[in-house]
């Protein structure tokens, strides 16, 4: 009978200890320069630990049967489902819209080359021509004479921005599209240890050599990245995933990176 008051005492004691541990972790994380989000994360672990230790000394659950057990079971499933969906929703969410435009651009050439792409292009052209003809007919009927038709929707809309012919801008776009930043740090941002920093690569490799490295990644190895398990780190796939003009654009962009203040490791010819 004295189990319940003892448990309450135990809960209070553990809650106080948990709060103290959480406070210490928060203070230490602040002193060590952790951003607020990490401090809250440490406090959350202290709370989890408190909950676990409270549970360890909780009194035994009374045996249930029949409808009561069934109701408890269903409630348990509802809680579990809610916790898992809620828990997953609390994490930062990747925005698919960030990727959609990128994927369209990456697959553009392959789509055009495919049967489906060819059919779609023909359909789009037919649709554009149809719209153009309709517009001309409408003008003729209303104005009594031929006029210049409005450009068809979805026509050559490539002008402007990165696609205007500026090779370096196109190359920068390839850097983003191929997600080179995941492995190579540039301008102080992006992947840190998988591949070398690229800020000074323009002073170390000629454009042709850069192109060779992209097409055949094992042809050049940066100093400090020559260990056996690192040799295959750069994927041998860009010769197929990228069109030659895209590789040329990327090379043009890389060739502009000439910041000697950054210690880009020296590439060594291997093939």
């Amino acid at each position: 009978m004295s189990e319940q008051p003892n448990f309450i005492k135990s809960v209070i004691k553990k809650a106080v200890i948990g709060a103290a541990v959480g406070g210490v972790l928060f203070g230490a994380a602040t002193a060590l320069g952790f951003p607020p989000i990490f401090r809250y994360m440490f406090v959350a672990y202290a709370m989890l630990g408190t909950a676990v230790f409270i549970l360890l000394d909780a009194p035994a659950l009374p045996t249930m049967s029949g409808l009561k057990a069934l109701a408890a079971l269903l409630a348990f499933y509802v809680v579990l489902s809610g916790v898992y969906i809620g828990g997953a929703s609390l994490w930062p969410q990747y925005d698919p819209d960030d990727e959609k435009g990128k994927i369209t651009k990456l697959l553009e050439a392959k789509r055009k080359a495919s049967e489906q792409g060819k059919a779609e292009e023909l359909l789009a052209r037919a649709k554009a021509l149809d719209e153009k003809a309709s517009a001309i007919m409408q003008r003729l009927q209303t104005l009594g004479g031929p006029t210049e038709a409005a450009p068809a929707a979805g026509g050559a809309k490539a002008a402007g921005g990165a696609a205007s012919g500026d090779l370096v801008a196109l190359g920068k776009e390839q850097w983003e599209l191929q997600e080179c930043y995941n492995c190579h740090k540039l301008y102080g941002q992006g992947g840190k240890k998988r591949g070398p920093e690229m800020d000074n690569i323009g002073n170390l490799l000629k454009p042709d050599e850069m192109k060779q490295k992209i097409i055949d990644p094992q042809s050049w190895m940066a100093e400090g990245f020559e260990k056996e398990y690192e040799k295959k780190k750069m994927p041998d796939k860009y010769k197929e995933l990228m069109e030659e003009k895209d590789i040329d654009a990327l090379v043009a962009f890389l060739a502009t990176l000439k910041n000697p203040a950054v210690n880009t490791p020296k590439p060594i010819k291997k093939k």
Binding site: I37, L56, L61, W91, Q93, Y94, N182, Q189, D216
Partner: protein
């Protein structure tokens, strides 16, 4: 469910396969647009359900036959009864596997006809000959195994166990065969320097099957299936314990839950390493997969995975804790203080060592092995010991610490492209987000759970288990473990498929549909939960149908439930 009903279900499954195959032969068959869900989600739901059923029917027979063998060897009828009850559920779920498998092919062909026919053409022998033959063979052996259970007793028991081994052999080969096309979609065979498109055109069937991730996927699924089978057995036991009417029944189902959990957790200890091996091979195949998983679009999926693994380890240790409460004489059980010290030191020491000697450098094991063996080799020479309760409390603490390390991200962002200083680990602490720290966290979780089980085992040997008198909360722990294991399978299944990025077959067959993008974790969690619940409903129905209903027919009990107080 009667045999003719099961046969009807399987026939429907086969008809769906034939119908779908015929549909695929129609030139330029139009793509079906699934209302409400969209095509990708329709495939996701059916494929995941199929994999869950398949995982159970492949995993459960492994320990069914082990349990049957143990019963034969120890002459303990409880093992035989356990094995028979699980195989009854397996037979029902086998029909569901066939049904969802047929549906999966049908949906795949209807939604992605061009890609599916392309894949079938590349693996024609597998899809048209080997897999159907294995499936038919497995069906025959499974039914033979099930229906000869009572007939092949006594002298014929060894023959029956041999049949069970044959069933598992066929099941494992089936798994390995179908893993060929599955792994191929992630890591299609390639040769250094050669064009992947040209290489695939000339590659043999074996080249395509024996790709980078095939064997790691086989091992991961094999171990995962045993874990899954163990936890589902725990679920079956928990259901039947909850609705038991006598102490004898409760004693038996308490024991069954104990065995299911033991097998589930035993296999679970290997899973992090199998997962690591698979991830390692994927990264070795194409290093750009690694940041996509760990630092970019899927990074938060792995945070959720870390949370799930932490919860599963906490729950499995909590089950031990509750189990020990009903062991009389547990207070006498003590363990060397060295074991506790190693538990506490492990994550910190190994993070440091693996930073200097990263895995797979052989030197990375030079400290780990002596450290984990220290309590075993020198424990008896050190006079200081701690009580079992204190030691297990320390293991809970270290599961939380290990999990905290596992889950500490480099940045609280879903993509490295949006990383800003306010969300990033400070430079001096960035090692917490790197692989040495993550590996040490994984080894800590495994080590403390092993220590808990060693303590548990000593308690069982030195004390007396009062079967049936376990805290009722333990049944919810068993249900939690099964639910969480299924949910995690769903999550990692989504991850494995999403790793193909915007390709049906990575770098080879692009996915031009509008659904070719990485969904959010929250959206995925809704569907994973939905799929888990549907699977749960079907499994619950199968358990009630086969075990509760058949029991009400008052057939003779197989095996004698151990009375309370029996060891």
């Amino acid at each position: 469910m009667k045999t003719w009903q099961r046969s009807l279900l399987m026939l429907f499954g086969l008809l769906a396969v034939f119908g779908a195959t015929a549909y695929a032969q129609v030139p330029n068959a139009p793509t079906v647009e699934f209302p409400y869900t969209g095509n990708r989600l329709a495939v996701w739901i059916v494929a995941q359900l199929h994999i869950l059923f398949a995982a159970f029917i492949l995993g459960a027979p492994i320990f069914v036959v082990i349990s049957e063998w143990l019963g034969y060897r120890k002459q303990d009828p409880r093992y035989d009864r356990l094995a028979k009850e699980v195989i009854k559920v397996t037979v029902i779920l086998y029909s569901m596997t066939a049904l969802t498998g047929g549906l999966f092919i049908f949906v795949l062909l209807a939604t992605y006809p061009q890609f599916t026919t392309w894949l079938i053409n590349h693996f024609f022998l597998v899809f048209a000959v080997i897999y159907p033959l294995l499936f038919i063979g497995e069906t025959i052996v499974l039914y033979l195994y099930f229906y000869t259970w009572d007939a092949w007793k006594g002298d014929k028991k060894a023959r029956h166990i041999a049949l069970g081994v044959l069933l598992n052999l066929i099941g494992t080969i089936t798994l390995f065969v179908i893993d060929g096309p599955t792994s191929f979609m992630n890591t299609p065979a390639k040769a250094e320097g050669a064009s992947i498109v040209e290489f695939i055109q000339a590659a043999t069937l074996w080249d395509k099957i024996f790709n980078y991730s095939w064997m790691p996927l086989n091992l991961h699924r094999l171990v995962g299936n045993v874990t899954f089978g163990g936890f589902i057995t725990g679920l079956i036991a928990a259901y039947l314990f909850m609705f038991s009417k006598t102490d004898q029944e409760r004693a038996y189902y308490d024991w069954m839950g104990f065995v299911g959990n033991l097998i589930g957790v035993g296999a679970l200890l290997f899973l992090p390493f199998m997962g690591y091996l698979l991830a390692y091979e994927l990264c070795d195949y194409d290093a750009s997969i690694c940041p996509y998983m760990m630092a970019d679009q899927l990074s938060m999926f792995f945070e959720m995975q870390g949370a799930m693994i932490g919860l599963i380890f906490l729950a499995s240790n909590y089950y031990i804790w509750l189990s020990m409460k009903r062991i009389e004489g547990v207070e006498r059980v003590r363990i060397s203080v060295l074991a506790v010290l190693v538990m506490v030191a492990l994550p910190f020491v190994m993070t440091y060592i693996w930073t200097i000697y990263p895995v797979p450098d052989p030197k990375s094991l030079f400290v780990l092995l002596p450290l984990v063996l220290l309590p075993v080799l020198f424990g008896r020479f050190v006079p200081f010991t701690v009580s079992s309760r204190a030691a297990i409390k320390v293991s809970f603490l270290m599961v939380i610490v290990g999990n905290a390390i596992w889950m500490t991200p480099h940045g609280f962002v879903a993509t490295g492209a949006k990383l800003v200083e306010e969300l990033e680990l400070p430079g001096d602490w960035s090692f917490l987000a790197l692989m040495p720290a993550k590996n040490s966290a994984a080894i800590t979780l495994v080590f403390v759970t092993v220590v808990s089980y060693i303590i548990y085992n000593r308690a069982i040997k030195q004390g007396t288990i009062v079967w049936g008198k376990i805290d009722f909360a333990s049944q919810f722990v068993l249900i939690f473990l099964a639910f969480s294991a299924i949910w995690t399978m769903g999550l990692m299944g989504a991850v494995r498929s999403l790793l193909r990025k915007y390709f049906h077959t990575y770098n080879l067959v692009p996915d031009f549909t509008v659904e070719s993008f990485t969904p959010t974790l929250a959206y995925s969690a809704w569907w994973i939960t939905g799929i888990t619940l549907v699977f749960y409903i079907v499994v619950s129905f199968a358990i009630i149908l086969t075990l509760r209903v058949s029991e009400s027919k008052a057939h003779a009990h197989e095996g004698s439930p151990a009375p309370a107080g029996a060891k």
